[in-house]
């Protein structure tokens, strides 16, 4: 991929994100409860409300508010959180960081596991191992995250057992063990769900690749089975998987929202749900935008990765 192409992608990405920001802003404008109402909760008088509306700029036309907001965001100031009275970015960014840690660990574990499972199933296609893997993996496609998560809590986080906390988050700075224990179950939940999706994908890609002429060429060369699988088949099966993986990052982000809620993991997803419940508009706006940034960037990275791995794209890009 050439530099010009990369630049073009980045510009397109920026435009899309700008549109997303406008979309999100517009959507949040329709909310029934006005922000001022939520801040003052039920004890507000009409005068207090009006004063706060003026203070928040809620009396200005929507496009003026948007302009002020997006200008601020670009300058690193996304406003003040209504529930916490702290700068939005101070609230959103640490939460985003924790979500990324969760998503990153999930992705790493899942990618390895799913690939191995998928390859194993494809190689033993139609045999017992394939059936067993499919049977193990299929439920993950049909059971929502919150069910998996809750079941894991019941099974592994019974307080009597003391194996894992049922929720919460212990930062790495407080010790590796606590961190690992606090992140294990949410990561496991996401991993189970995503592994099912991806390993099925890897399996079907791998089956296609194993049918391909070049794998036949490699086999008929007399290469050992392992070399055929890992040198010739797998890299090619991984290419489409990479694209799917990027798409699944969107799924992962969505899943993160739910799983964070289930495990009371203080990430961006949970923050967003809390903000949606309490109508903390600046946090909703910045949070959704942050997720969109992550998603779009992940897709870009996947594309770049794809072109780094796939010689065809590399040359044509």
């Amino acid at each position: 991929m050439s530099l010009a192409h990369l630049l073009r992608r980045l510009v397109a990405l920026a435009v899309i994100l700008l549109c997303v920001s406008a979309l999100v802003f517009a959507i949040t404008q329709i909310l029934p409860g006005n922000a001022a109402v939520m801040i003052l909760v039920q004890n507000a008088t009409a005068d207090e409300l009006r004063a706060l509306e003026v203070q928040l700029g809620l009396d200005r036309p929507a496009w003026v508010q948007y302009g002020r907001w997006i200008g601020g965001v670009l300058a690193g100031d996304a406003g003040i959180s209504m529930t916490s009275s702290r700068p939005v970015l101070d609230v959103v960014l640490p939460a985003l960081g924790r979500s990324l840690i969760l998503a990153g660990i999930t992705l790493a574990v899942m990618a390895t596991g799913a690939v191995l499972l998928g390859v194993a199933a494809a190689v033993r296609r139609g045999r017992l191992a394939d059936f067993v893997i499919s049977a193990l993996v299929y439920p993950g496609v049909c059971v929502p995250e919150f069910v998996v998560g809750t079941l894991l809590v019941v099974l592994l986080a019974r307080p009597e057992l003391g194996w894992f906390p049922a929720g919460g988050y212990a930062p790495l700075s407080q010790g590796l063990l606590g961190f690992a224990r606090s992140i294990a179950l949410p990561a496991l939940t996401l991993t189970i769900i995503l592994t099912s999706r991806i390993s099925r994908q890897v399996r079907s890609e791998m089956i296609d690749v194993l049918k391909s002429d070049y794998v036949r060429t490699a086999t008929l060369k007399g290469l050992p089975r392992r070399a055929v699988l890992f040198r010739h088949a797998l890299p090619n099966a991984m290419l489409p998987t990479l694209t799917i993986l990027a798409l699944d990052i969107g799924y992962l982000i969505g899943g993160t929202v739910v799983v964070e809620e289930v495990f009371a993991y203080p990430g961006l997803g949970r923050l967003l749900i809390f903000s949606m419940q309490s109508r903390d508009l600046p946090v909703i706006q910045a949070g959704v935008l942050a997720m969109a940034v992550v998603y779009v960037t992940a897709n870009l990275v996947a594309d770049l990765l794809h072109s780094a791995v796939d010689p065809r794209v590399r040359a044509d890009g």
Partner: protein, 522 residues
Amino acid sequence: MPTWKMSRRALMRASAAAVLAASAAGRGAFAATAGTPRRGGILKISVNARADSLNPMKPKSSAGHMAVELLYSGLTRIGTDLSAQPDLAESWTANDQATEFTFRLREASFHDGSPVTAADVVATITAIRDPASASPGRTSTGPIAAVEAVDDRTVRFRLDGSFADLPVVLGSVYTKIIQAAALADPAALETRPAGSGPFLLKEFDPGRILSVRRNPAYFDPERPYLEGIDQLVYPDATGEAAALINGDTDVLLEVGIANFDRLATTAGIVGERVATGNFLNLVMRVDTRPFDDLRVRRALAMSLDREALVEAVLEGYGRPADDSIIAPEASLYTAPPKAVYDPAAARQLLAEAGYPDGVEATLYAAAVPPLRTTLAVAVKEFASQAGFRIEVRTVAMDEYLANVFRKAGFYVGSWNMGVTQDFWYNTLLTSKGALADSGWSDPRFDEVIAAARRTTDAAERTRLYAEAQALVVSNLPYIVPFFLDRLAARRDYVEGLALHPLNQPYQLDRVWLGEGAPARQE
């Protein structure tokens, strides 16, 4: 094995009742826990909402309230009997009409070492009363007209009208005394305390931890007993419970009803329970059909088996409320007549009111706290015996505030116990009540409430409040099915924890760690 379950439950109830009795006996003083206070140790306490701001003028969550209480002192504190007790003010006097109060300050210093003076009090109260502060304290402090520093250690409050409850009200979390110089920069107060409380701020990482350490210069040489307190944020109840069981924390201040039995029966953990005046109410607007007819309101009230509601909705952790918003814990309390449960009579009343075939109504409940919905579902089921066909509609909080609260004809309200009887009567039920939401008004009631403010004679006030209560109960703007208990849990080595019927005072400066407490290093 239903029978076993029932008996175990009964047992639990009994033991919790014993706790209740103990805390009742210990009213006015610290809880009657055995042993002498011991110095030292770090208490780990969990909360499930973050303390987002340390500014006493606008703390939002219980965690924030706790933080403010640890870091600041007020003029007074509110005892578990809801009376005013000295804090920064060592004494106070009022004139006969309760329109002028004089507070005498003790010698105390802010965390930076500078003395607490009358000027600081004046500056704080002035700041709270500034509409721009948007402090909840502005509306709860009564009709203050002026505050002045008589001398360095004396402050005088002049009121617009009579307000006998001023010393109690000034014990609220919103009226903690802030160093005058710090008021210039309210934003800094969010994270940098400027108070004179029993603890000093060590670390504040919102969403994770609030860590405070003993204030060696605190005006009381005895307290606090603890070397420090770490308030850890566990963003939900399940995590909190697990942390307590695992011994990661020592105290869990808000235990959900569903979890209490399990926690209280766990080895090493003691369940704490205190009766409060927190209540849910069914608001029936008296100006909207079908509840504009008193008979319909009474029919609904009679269709509800209060004991069964306490059982079904609260799993027994509460008391029937007989439709008064004032709980027995309130000062100047008189018990209302017992609410009658008689579905047949209720059906009869409905027929008399012109609804022989029953009546339809939509009952709105905000999604938080979830208890509102639970109550609504239970009311729907019970009231159906009397011919009410209730549709329950759960709405998000913002929709509730925008479209339901004070607007809808029938909804579930939820309020914490008021510091004084005056507070909720004046806010919810007087004609000019700031949050009057039932549409009911009665000049006699307004008069009675105003008269109770004017007098400082306790017997007279008790009589007046009894009359007010009778007016409310007979007119039924609300059905108040029950008062909630507060449930908490602690490790058995945590001593001196006295649950308060009000939500805010935690009085953690009176807690100490007894035998068996784990040694924790900094």
